[in-house]
Every structure is written in structure tokens, then in C-alpha cells.
Symmetry: C2
Subunit: 295 residues, 2 copies
């Protein structure tokens, strides 16, 4: 079999390069030309005929990324690639899986249908599944959801003395409990009430923290930062140690990352979305899944 | 039959409202919510079940517009609309209809396939067809290309004394000749040599202009403005009247509109893309095509 080829969409070069090294494949340089009117024209700079392809494109801020991504996938296919898969460490459009109000678009389903039409397989990390129990419910292609819990746990074990995990809401319970267990550490779950995109309320209940622990606020996504900042303020009243904010996906709406840092908390995310906070590598996890799926 | 419903994507409100008036239909308000992380959630604010729908969305700067548009179309369909059509007075991604270099994506075909998958029909105005002789070659849905020539001719007849039309290149000959004929006016075609996205050379050959004419520089699209500005400078040496730049689609890359105005030329486009220059209305043309296609 010909070796697997990787293509990095703009911004994903570092992860793609590391996946190439781990997988023993090759990187196909991609030239994405942007015309003065805002349209793009991707060009694969090497022959892909007969090869299995993994396109690397994390899908935060998906609107602008979507067409260039799909154009590149279509080109690879037309130029004779055997199978074209998508490695999207962060998968966008997972929130709107039901109509909360009449007339709303089911963006997660439509997005899934578009991606399923363009690719043969999908690998992602901890998609933000709510009411949709599995990706297979909305993706018609093989869609593998990897779990960052183990690599987060390893990072905490190596870097945090006496961690005490705090989950911001019930939704986080299952995997906060899991990470805490892997670290043999205690955890608590707070109660969150969402009042809008940027307004939330958090209640600590009867939470009290032992004096010598490091509070680790664990969430899957940090976007507006509202939940995190509220929680940090609450924790600060309970502990003399500055909390560590640990998240899988650092989506960071404009200004959010700085606002979190301004609280004095440490901020660490996985590298599903590149950035200053992206210290925990999911590369090995992804490389191994790609090897399986391409086999 | 239930009356046709129109939905305006953000930025297309004025055209949609005028189409509603001309067509005797109704406008369905659309609420496009943008989350802090850049994802959107469109919501149709009225029932659309059983109705025929025309979604109005001109497709300059298409990358950011694509997902919100397709989400809205899918929602209308899921909510029981009979047919969902797209009114895109300007149709993007028409330039790349062949691989000029190995490995290039055929963006026009992939884009056409995506639009064809999301809509039942398409109405547009003078798509920038090059080697693709007709939209039917790449669009698998009924796709109607209207011609702005007649409304441009009417505008010139009403507003320009003694027009002399100038086409910037051979590609423009056919319809410059057509508009000139409808105005009973003379025309000339220049020779253009493209050296890059923003670099062109223009030769006047033996063009000389009668002393009393108003030069009307006619092109289908103005984007970077490079062609137009070169041509204006060339014309200025040949005529004592300031030229009028007349185009169907005012795409205008950043700074282009001002750069053209800075030459002293008048700038007039159709309203396929809203803007300060959009003085020539294609509304009647579009309304009549929609009425036909929805019948």
C-alpha cells in the first residue's frame, strides 16, 4: 500500500507535521491562493493519485474554513486519491442538535451532512455531544470521537501537586469524575445556570476545599470564558492556591483568553486548537486512530 | 397555491423587500444569531410549511456566507417548504472552471455541486462564464442566468449623452457590442494582458475617440480595479470627457472603489451587490424570473 499522505489546511501545519512523523507518511504541500475578492483556490503541490489522504483542519471558526476545506478534499478526490479523511481535532457545529425554539436551523445535522458528503471518514477529539449520544447519529461516514481524558490526566499527574478537580456543571460530571479517578484525586461538580450566551450563574453548594490542594477547573470547551471566570471567582474564595483552568478545546472568543489570564489563574488546554495555552498534546492519540482507520 | 415567501440573508434586505413588493409575496423575518465562538444559528421567524421559498443572498465574499445560507435553506426544507430556491444576483466561484496548473481545485464545480445539493433552483445575473458555456454544465438544478445588458442600456440612454463604449478585453466584446447596439452607440475593444491578480497591461491599438463623446468603460465585474484604472488612464489621454465606469457586478476588493473614484471617473454598477455605486436596478428582471420559476 502507498504511504498515507497528510494535507494541512492553513493554521494546522504544526499538528500535521507531527502526525506525519508519527505515522511515517508524507506531507503534501498545499497552496491556498486568496484572490482580491476573497475567493480562494487551493492547489495540491504533489501528486496524490492512489494514496490515502488525511486532511488536517481543526474546525473552530468553521464558517470561513468550510469552503477551502471542501474544495481541497474534492480536488484530492478528483486527482485520484483513494480515500480522503478529515482530521478535525476540534469539531464545530455540535451545539444545535435540536430546535430549542420554532424555526431554528439544526446546524449540527446540516453541517454533519455536508462533511459526510465531502469526506470518507472523520477523526475528532471529544466532540461537544449533548443530546446527540454519538457522532454516528448525525455523521453518515465512519466518525471516530477520541477521548482526551487520559492525556489530560497524564498532564495533571506530571504537573499538579494534590489536584482537586472541579466541574462547572452536571454535563461535565461524567468525564471530570473519570479524569479525577485516573489521577486518584477528589472532585466536585458545581451547579450552572445559563441565562444567555455570555451570562451564567454558578453555585458552589456546600463545596469546601482542603487547604493544601490545587483547584483544577476542568471543562471541555472554553469559549466566551464566562463559565470559567465565574467559577474562578467562586473558587478563589474557597482556596488559597490559584486555580488551574484545564480544558480540552481552547476556542476562546475574542478577549476571553486574556480575561481568564487576568484572574491570575493558570490556563492550559490540549492542542486541538493551536494557541498559547495549548500545552497538552493529543497527537499520539490522533496518530494512532488515523493508523487504525487508514489500515 | 400559497403565496411565495422570501427570506433575506443578512445584507440583502433591500433587494428582498423590493422583490416581495414586485412579486406579491411575503417576507419571512430571519434571525441569524452569532455565538461568541463565531458559529451561527439561523431561525425562521414565521411558518413556511407548504410555501415556495426564495432565499435572497448575493454571493460576493462567499466563504463566510456559505454555511449560514445552507443552514437556512435546510431549515426551510425541514420545516415543510415545498421548494427552496436561491436568488444570488452575483454568483461567486465562477472563475476556476479548469485546472490552469496541476493540482488545482475546480472550485466552480465543487461550489456548484454544494449549491445544487442545497437548493431546488437558482436565479443569478450574468455569471462570469468563461470556458463553461452555461450554468447547466456545472449546476444540476435549474439555473437561470439573467442578462443585465438591457437595464444597463436603458440607464445609459437615460443618463449619458453620446456614449462611446469601451470594452477592456476580447472577453467583453460580445456583450459590449450588444449594449452599444441597444444604445445605437459606437464601441471599441481593447487588448488586455493579465500578468497576475493585480497586474495587467492594456493596449489601445489605434483607438481614437471623437471629441464630443462620453467614454463608457464597460465591464462585467470590477474587483481589484486594476483593469479599470489602467483603462481609465489610457482613455484620459484620448478624451477630454471624464469616463464613466459601468459594470454589472461591483465586487470591489478592499480599497478598489475609492481608487477608481480617485481617478475622477464616475462609477456606476447594477445592484447585484449592494453599495454606493449600485444605481442600476436589476429588480424587475429578477422578479420576473422568479415569478416564472415559481409558477
Amino acid at each position: 500500500m502507498s504511504p498515507p499522505l497528510f494535507i494541512s489546511m492553513p493554521g494546522n501545519e504544526a499538528l500535521a507535521a507531527r502526525l506525519v512523523v508519527r505515522s511515517g507518511g508524507f506531507l503534501v504541500p498545499l497552496d491556498v491562493h486568496t484572490f482580491p475578492d476573497g475567493e480562494v483556490r487551493p492547489r495540491l503541490m504533489q501528486d496524490v493519485a492512489g494514496h490515502s489522504i488525511a486532511l488536517v483542519c481543526t474546525l473552530d471558526r468553521p464558517n470561513e474554513k468550510f469552503l477551502p476545506l471542501v474544495f481541497t478534499a474534492a480536488a484530492a478526490r478528483e486527482l485520484g486519491a483513494r480515500k480522503v479523511g478529515l482530521v478535525a481535532p476540534y469539531l464545530g457545529y455540535m451545539r444545535q442538535d435540536k430546535r430549542f425554539h420554532p424555526g431554528e436551523a439544526l446546524t449540527s445535522r446540516t453541517f454533519a451532512a455536508l462533511i459526510s458528503g465531502a469526506f470518507d471518514w472523520l477523526v475528532t477529539v471529544d466532540p461537544h455531544l449533548h443530546r446527540t449520544p454519538s457522532l454516528a447519529e448525525i455523521y453518515s461516514i465512519p466518525a471516530l470521537a477520541l477521548h482526551a481524558g487520559p492525556v489530560l490526566s497524564e498532564w495533571v499527574k506530571a504537573n499538579v501537586p494534590r489536584p482537586f478537580f472541579i466541574g462547572p456543571d452536571e454535563e461535565s460530571r461524567q468525564w471530570v469524575a473519570d479524569v479525577a479517578k485516573q489521577c486518584s484525586a477528589p472532585f466536585a461538580i458545581l451547579h450552572k445556570e445559563r441565562r444567555g450566551d455570555r451570562t451564567i450563574g454558578i453555585a458552589a453548594g456546600d463545596l469546601s476545599l482542603p487547604d493544601d490542594v490545587t483547584p483544577v477547573l476542568l471543562d471541555d470547551i472554553v469559549s466566551s470564558g464566562g463559565t470559567v471566570i465565574e467559577t474562578i471567582h467562586l473558587i478563589k474564595g474557597l482556596s488559597r492556591h490559584a486555580p488551574i483552568v484545564l480544558a480540552i478545546h481552547g476556542v476562546f472568543a475574542k478577549g476571553a483568553e486574556q480575561a481568564i489570564r487576568d484572574t491570575g489563574a493558570a490556563l492550559v488546554t490540549s492542542n486541538t486548537i493551536p494557541g498559547r495555552a495549548a500545552a497538552v498534546e493529543v497527537d499520539r492519540l490522533i496518530a494512532s486512530a488515523i493508523a487504525d482507520i487508514m489500515r
